[in-house]
Symmetry: C2
Subunit: 388 residues, 2 copies
């Protein structure tokens, strides 16, 4: 897809997106802007991405026939999720379909144990770990508490992860093939987005800081840039690039890491796709992560990642106890705050803690951005029409 002649009949490329969620939705908008068309594969008709793409194949991410249908309809296939039948994608790749990032990279990353082994083999610092194919109290005790158990497959948004402080917590373990790793008391959790082009060129976005609700794996607030010393940020960005180079691949990768009390950086995990930690790039950076991903997978030059304005980002989650048609409260009051950028995902129904949208707050003073984002969180509630 590298056009040496720099001559593109429109559309530049027909992009297939596996996964019709919010990441695919924002990618589809960017795709249209730069002259691409999109087809989305998602099991839910009228998915968030399908609404924007205008063309959706309704089907499961694990349905070989649907994956093939998508590949045959498109010039490049990419994805906004990881839980995909990678074996079929690998086969489609062998047949000559263009899938980016390469499905071998997806397969390596989507199993957290093989991901961790690959990082470790490449000398990337991570928490010490052991495979745990059959979790047992004895094996956990032998590894030692406190520990973090991660299911090898299917985890996202904090699912598939269990933090166990001691033997008394064993009941909270996940009864699936896993790895266990040493619990790292981190002072901060950081994320760095790295874009890698077809030609091996790369661009790194400034490191961001992810603040989680204490004791829960729910992102409470993202601050961009991270409030850390410049040399720590530079080290995080270098580590992220090394990490992505070790895994290989093309497109945007989200590298999550811990900053330990001792000031060390440890890679937690890698997402081979656009990432929740990059939503703010739509407004705050010269090139947003979605366009950047498309530039990479289509073979166009990567764009500047320069950040124009500090930003804070919060997710808008469905209120507990609520389901059905979404009802948004406090939106007008939130929009009256200067710098508030609202993104709703067009999901037809809410459910508890479902990601229904996000808000990026721009402010030249990041502490003001954070305070405004806290206000927005208190103001906006997404309830549903079906509730007690």
């Amino acid at each position: 897809m590298i056009h040496r002649m720099d001559v593109f009949p429109l559309p530049i490329a027909r992009i297939g997106i596996i996964g019709g969620g919010q990441l695919g939705r924002m990618m589809a908008k960017a795709a249209k802007r730069i002259g691409c068309t999109c087809v989305v594969l998602d099991p839910t008709p009228g998915s968030p991405a399908g609404q924007v793409a205008g063309h959706q194949i309704v089907g499961a991410y694990h349905d070989p026939a649907k994956l093939r249908e998508l590949a045959e309809a498109c010039d490049v296939v990419t994805f906004d999720i990881e839980d995909i039948d990678a074996a079929t994608l690998i086969q489609l790749g062998r047949e000559g379909h263009n899938i980016q990032p390469p499905p071998t990279v997806l397969a390596l990353i989507q199993d957290k144990l093989t991901q961790k082994r690959a990082l470790s083999a490449a000398g990337i610092p991570t928490a010490p770990f052991e495979p745990m194919p059959e979790p047992s109290a004895d094996a956990f005790a032998a590894f030692g508490y406190p520990l973090v158990q991660k299911a090898c497959r299917g985890g996202y948004d904090g699912r598939g992860v269990s933090i166990l402080d001691g033997p008394d917590d064993f009941d909270a373990h996940l009864p699936v093939p896993s790895l266990v790793e040493r619990f790292i008391p981190a002072t901060k959790e950081l994320a760095v987005l790295v874009a890698r082009g077809l030609d091996g060129d790369h661009r790194c976005y400034p490191a961001v800081e992810m603040r989680f609700r204490p004791g829960e794996n729910v992102l409470e607030m993202l601050l961009a840039p991270a409030q850390i010393p410049a040399e720590t940020a530079a080290a995080a960005e270098q580590l992220a690039v090394r990490t992505v180079d070790a895994l290989g691949g093309v497109g945007i990768f989200g590298v999550e890491m811990f900053l330990t009390e001792a000031g060390n950086l440890l890679v937690n995990e890698v997402a081979p796709r656009t990432h929740n930690s990059g939503h703010h790039t739509i407004e705050a950076n010269m090139t947003d992560q979605f366009e950047q991903h498309l530039r990479a997978v289509v073979g166009l030059p990567l764009g500047s990642t320069e950040q124009l304005c500090p930003a804070a980002m919060i997710n808008l989650l469905g209120a507990p106890g609520h389901r059905g048609r979404p009802v948004i409260k406090g939106m007008a009051e939130a929009l009256a705050i200067p710098g508030v950028c609202l993104h709703l995902y067009g999901k037809a129904a809410t459910s508890p803690y479902r990601k229904m949208g996000h808000v990026t707050v721009l402010d030249r003073d990041i502490e003001q951005a954070r305070i405004k984002a806290e206000r927005v969180r208190r103001l906006i509630e997404i309830s549903g029409e079906d509730h007690p």
Copy 2:
């Protein structure tokens, strides 16, 4: 539509957009982001806006039945063009349909003579003018050269305007009901976007500078902010607000003005819609003009118009002599320049000078932005597959 309770079941509003061009396309994207759905009315199936909205009524802007169909399908009707059957809209408004800006304002503005009379009556400085219902050599001579003839109806993008230096140019006049106005030797042409809310609140974007190709009415380059003294910019912004207040209405208004050699500001004309002079607000300002327009017409609070980064904007026009499926040359080389933001409009066919897209260049140094935009203009060519 002002929700005093600040409770919005999704969608927030169903927006009808008359006109399916690039302005409607960018509006539809903003609409989805803030939780609205869209229906577009445009005669061309698969119009730029229709591709994003996902729902298009195929029909003419002057077809009363189609306008009614649109109004009945939507909570608020707005437009991205001016050449609409305003009488039908006024009738629909009387019947209780919500049309913003009000069609009476559209009717006043779409006739350049009534627009000019309204501005003049409100004490807004403009070039001296006279009605010219039946253009004739004698009448032109009596008014005096050099003059600018403007057709009362249907002009846009430089069409419907003729600049006549002297009696020898009379052959180049427009044989339609017109006004003539004194030719103003301007040092600069400026534009100010003003947003007016349902509650009368307003927000002004920083004044921008429009540079035209000498002797032609084609925008060559837009610089934001305008390179003028701060007090001139402040005066331009105040004049724009006064102008829009004089006309009334809700939504975004583009106010074009001349800065004369003597340092005076004269209003040239007003567009009751989002405007080509505000494309850069997508990347460069906290709230872009499209979301701002929607906030206004839906009754949400207006957003900050603060500019985060200087910007230069060029339109991408179809190359002379070319028609058919667009082919874009030089895109990869242009995208390699940091800060280049490409927008293609998804038009199925190019034709000479047709607006096929635009490029906004962000750079903290506006002179660098301008130089980069000049480079992009030289690099990118939009040709067509059907040409000699």
